[in-house]
């Protein structure tokens, strides 16, 4: 139970970051479009369960990182559009820096060879 939840949190965390980055680059999008973009870039991470995106969107909206409103899509369908807020932009920057740092550290560790530690 707890292990499952942990995995989910990691997934949700990365997913949230992807959502924020997508919205930053592409501007306001509806849920389906966000799902498609992430799918294109991340491959199969989201292709299994597109639905998991919606709880993440809700959480981000509750935190004030994104805002949403009804609009109409490219082929004139009613759709809910999400856009990045100022707070979201700041959060993205902060978390991006964190990621970079973590990634850099982890990267260095993975190229470690035995002699480096001697």
């Amino acid at each position: 139970m707890s292990q499952m939840k942990e995995k989910m949190d990691v997934l949700q965390g990365t997913l949230a970051l992807m959502v924020l980055k997508t919205l930053e680059v592409l501007g306001p999008l509806h849920g389906y479009a966000i799902a498609r973009r992430i799918e294109q870039i991340s491959g199969d991470l989201l292709s299994v369960n597109q639905g998991t995106l919606y709880p993440v969107l809700l959480k981000l909206e509750q935190e004030g990182s994104i805002a949403s409103e009804w609009g109409s899509s490219e082929n004139n369908r009613k759709a809910r559009f999400y856009r990045l807020t100022r707070g979201g932009r700041k959060q993205l920057q902060a978390e991006f820096r964190g990621w970079e740092q973590t990634a850099a550290i982890m990267g260095r560790f993975f190229v470690l060879k035995e002699e480096d530690l001697k």
Binding site: H30, G31, Y32, A35, S47, V48, N49, Q50, G51, T52, Y54, P55, L58, K59, Q62, E63, G64, S73, N75, R77, K78, A79, R80
Partner: protein, 921 residues
């Protein structure tokens, strides 16, 4: 910040669930439509396109669940759900609910009412401004006078002169106020009113007393430094209680003149309703007078005596001042002041000079004499009621377990269908907490009634006087206590059933419950019964010990007779008598009462035995060296009229009692008790020996008789009777001194055989002497003696109540377990009987199981009873803390009621017909 924002969002979205569900549904629909459209474009058939889209989206319901979990407050939702569900279930089982709530109400109510007292007496601060800034002089409270220039352990009472010295020189105090350590009664009459004077307690306070406490007058003004100087017009502040109850809140009281002990005082203001002076007392003061008015009222004034220490001090420290440095400063001042009186100090005082010191202690609770008096027994009661509450918990847990058993099938079914374990646990927990909260609410009513009852018995009040300022209605801390107790209780008795619930094997749902191979649940229930038995034994033996101690106290040899004796209490001082009028007054009172039909003889004394008052003095024996600094030369004494010993029934062992032949013209005599003879004369014959009450006056009194030891003072009941001497009233030094000891308070009346004397006749006889003389009380000596033990009686009765309660609860618990287990074994019993067991065998079978539990409980409880005896300690008044009789009675009581509780189910089991029993399977 973000979590808070999220929580608020969640809270608001919880409120509009419907709308959001709609939004999510629409969004999902859009998402699927777009995906379908795209799939169509890539050439799939419409049906397949839709199917692929749904597949790709994933489990809609699971996602919705997740979405909802994100959105609202699932915890609150399930809580509301559980509560609704539980309420429904409780409504369906009214008998169970009512029994449980009532049991809990009793347990929680009893604990809460004891806590109300604990809070009021031990924890609460005075109702004044910033009580944490207050500090008082002294570590222990002391009453009432200390003479000379040295005090044992610490200098905690001061004279007016020393007070002024400390007040004017200690910089750390913003205000330092003084007031006597005792509370005199005043005979009060509104000027121009012809009614008899009423007696009310009052106290002298320094002019800054109200300023120091930060107390504003309710009406008029409080006393000021201007009122407290020699020659100031006498001013008084009246209590709100007296103003309201006696004078109907009449505004004209302020500014009018009242005679206190026949001295005129102008009432300048009324205290606020919540203010009751600087100490919690049985009778809070009704008048506050300036210290400098003391010589104006008292015949024997203490104000200007440098070496009479009678004042307590409380001060408010300057903001930021350190109590420790103030204390150090005051120690130096004390030494300086003592040095300035070096010439007047006795040799003993000088020897003790280096050791003289003082201490400051937090004064937010005021003078805490009541706290010290009641602390131990409140602790005992708190412990006893806590034990009773635990037993209540065990009983309710038992009931809950039975309920859990009945629900096993349902629970295993829900588990089999995939219910979360946490949800299954939450249900019995919700039920138990809900029940205990109901119990707590009902318990508040029990607590209110209980507190009133205890207040009535613990703090006896007198007609017309203010009663102890403790309110029975629950205050915020008490409410909080009851709430927390209920919550804890709920958790404590809910844990076992909740734990049991999770240990259900889903497979059991598929089998019949009655066919389950193991009797799960009987171990925790048995443990509870053992625990209850052990605790009940402890409570029972504590109750037994206290009752036995009370019995010993009440039936000890007091040394005087209680039958046919009546004590009338008066106070000639309140009627404004001068000392030179007293001798004649006593003679007239004696003659007037003696002529009442039915009265056989009468005598007057300062204080009758166990009336609550007594005078003490040092003793200098003729022909012995004067006592040194560490010698104990203290004795109690009483002033009595002729014939006193016969009237009170105190036998004279040697010599004679006080008689008519002792007059102001004859030699000064004294009668001593046996303890006095042992203490001061050792093995010598005391008759004819001389002693005195002052240094250098050791030939003051000649001993003419020895009276049997009798109990006069009530505060050291666990100790042997102390040294005591009696002086004849006729030889009092009326001319020489103006001492308070000249005023006799108690009239002892020995009535003839037959019907009791009516108090109205005594009052008539007194009124014929002086209609203005207030009679404070008339009661039999037996009542007066019993009144001394009201506290002990209360604690013994309360503990007995808790003991019996726990015995009943434990028996019910045992009955429940035995009946339940017998029920489970119906099949087995049927087989046994079919194989030839007779009814006796079956009874033994069931009984053995039940009695095993009780024996276990006794084994655990017995060592605990010894510990309980240790805790009771001084409340047993010297009785051995281990009392085999009490313990055996407690064991017997528990054993008998256990026998009774288990015999019924055992007999019922033995009446089962084997055929029926086997058919149950």
């Amino acid at each position: 910040m973000r979590p808070l924002r999220r929580f608020l969002k969640r809270l608001s979205s919880w409120a509009r669930t419907q709308q959001d569900e709609e939004r999510l549904r629409a969004e999902i629909e859009e998402h699927l439509a777009m995906q379908t459209a795209e799939n169509l474009r890539s050439g799939l058939s419409p049906t397949e396109a839709r199917r692929q889209a749904v597949l790709k989206f994933g489990g809609v319901e699971a996602m919705k669940e997740d979405y909802r979990a994100q959105k609202g407050l699932p915890f609150l939702e399930t809580l509301a759900q559980d509560t609704r569900h539980t309420l429904r279930r409780l409504r369906k089982a009214p008998a169970f609910t009512i029994t449980t709530v009532l049991t809990l109400a009793l347990g929680i109510g009893a604990t809460t009412s004891i806590f109300t007292l604990v809070h009021a007496v031990l924890l609460k601060s005075l109702p004044v401004a910033n009580p944490n800034e207050l500090y008082r002089l002294g570590k222990e409270t002391r009453c009432c006078y200390q003479g000379g220039y040295s005090q044992e352990k610490e200098f905690s009472l001061v004279s007016y002169d020393l007070y002024k010295y400390l007040r004017d020189n200690t910089k750390g105090f913003a205000e330092l106020a003084a007031f006597p350590a005792f509370e005199p009664l005043f005979g009060v009459r509104r000027a121009g009113n012809s009614e008899a004077a009423q007696s009310y307690p009052g106290e002298f306070v320094s002019g800054n007393y109200f300023t120091m406490f930060g107390i504003q007058a309710y009406a008029g003004r409080t006393l000021t430094a201007q009122d407290d100087r020699p020659g100031a017009p006498p001013a008084a502040v009246m209590s709100y209680r007296l103003w309201q109850q006696q004078y109907g809140s009449d505004p004209s009281v302020i500014g009018s003149v009242f005679n206190l002990d026949d001295k005129p005082f102008t009432v300048v203001g009324i205290t606020p309703p919540s203010f009751f002076g600087e100490a919690l007392r049985n009778t809070p003061p009704d008048f506050f007078l300036p210290l400098n008015a003391e010589p104006f009222v008292e015949v024997d004034a203490d104000l200007n005596k440098y070496d009479t220490h009678w004042l307590d001090l409380i001060g408010r420290i300057q903001p930021g001042a350190k109590p420790a440095s103030i204390e150090a400063e005051m120690r130096v001042e004390l030494k300086q002041w003592l040095r300035s009186h070096w010439g007047e100090m006795s040799a003993n005082d000088r020897a003790k000079f280096p050791k003289q010191t003082l201490y400051l202690s937090p004064g937010g609770a005021g003078i805490t004499s009541m706290r010290e008096q009641y602390e131990h027994w409140l602790q005992i009661l708190m412990m006893v009621s806590g034990f009773a509450l635990l037993i209540v918990c065990a009983n309710v847990a038992n009931l809950m377990l039975v309920r859990g058993m009945e629900r096993r099938r349902q629970v295993s079914l829900s588990m089999a269908l995939g219910a979360q374990a946490s949800r299954v646990v939450r249900q019995p927990l919700t039920e138990s907490i809900l029940l205990s909260l109901f119990g707590g609410a009902a318990g508040l009513a029990v607590a209110f009634a209980g507190t009133r009852l205890i207040l009535h018995f613990a703090f006896p009040s007198f007609a017309g006087f203010a009663s102890v300022p403790i309110s029975a209605s629950p205050s915020m801390p008490v409410l909080l206590f009851a709430f927390v107790t209920s919550l804890l209780t709920g958790v404590v008795f809910g844990i076992a059933p909740a734990w049991m619930a999770t240990r259900v094997d889903p497979i059991e749902a598929l089998r019949g419950v009655s066919r389950s191979s193991e009797r799960t649940g009987s171990v925790p229930r048995k443990t509870l019964v053992v625990f209850q038995a052990a605790l009940s034994l402890v409570l029972l033996s504590a109750a037994g010990l206290l009752t036995a101690a009370l019995h010993n106290l009440e039936n000890q040899d007091f040394g005087f007779e209680q039958d046919r004796r009546i004590v009338a209490t008066m106070n000639p001082r309140l009627a404004g008598y001068r000392t030179d009028q007293l001798s004649l007054l006593y003679r007239r009172i004696h003659d007037s009462i003696a002529s009442v039909p039915g009265v056989s003889s009468v005598a007057l004394c300062q204080y009758a035995p166990l009336s609550g008052g007594a005078w003490g003095s040092g003793v200098w024996v003729d022909g012995q060296p004067p006592p040194g600094p560490t010698d104990d030369y203290f004795a109690w004494w009483d002033r009595v009229t002729a014939g006193y010993f016969a009237v009170i029934g105190n036998p004279i062992i040697r010599g004679r009692g006080i008689s008519e032949e002792d007059t102001s013209a004859s030699r000064n005599v004294a009668v001593i008790n046996e303890a006095f003879a042992r203490k001061f004369f050792k093995d010598e014959d005391p008759i004819g020996k001389h002693f005195g009450r002052e240094p250098g006056a050791s030939r003051q009194f000649e001993v003419v008789g020895v009276a049997k030891d009798s109990r006069y003072v009530a505060h050291n009941l666990d100790k042997p009777i102390g040294a005591f001497f009696f002086l004849p009233e006729a030889q009092a030094e009326y001319a020489r001194s103006n001492q308070g000891s000249l005023f006799l308070h108690d009239i002892v009346i020995f009535t003839g055989p037959g019907p009791g004397l009516s108090t109205a006749r005594v009052r008539e006889a007194m009124a014929s002497v002086d209609p203005n003389m207030p009679i404070i009380s008339i009661r039999t000596l037996r009542e007066q003696v019993a009144g001394q033990f009201s506290q002990q009686r209360l604690i013994a009765r309360l503990t007995s109540f808790f003991g019996v309660l726990s015995l009943v609860l434990a028996s019910i618990g045992l009955y429940g377990v035995t009946a339940y287990n017998a029920g489970l074994r119906v099949g087995e019993i049927g087989v046994r009987m079919a194989l030839g067991a007779d009814r006796g065998d079956i009874v033994t079978l069931v009984l053995r199981g039940a009695l095993m539990l009780i024996v276990l409980g006794l084994l655990i409880g017995l060592p605990l009873t010894f510990a309980a005896g240790k805790v009771l300690g001084s409340q047993l008044y010297g009785m051995n803390t281990y009392n085999p009789v009490v313990t055996s009675v407690a064991v017997l009581a528990l054993g008998l009621s256990a026998m009774l509780a288990s015999l019924i189910p055992a007999f019922r089991a033995s009446l089962i017909s084997p055929l029926d029993a086997l058919r149950v399977e």
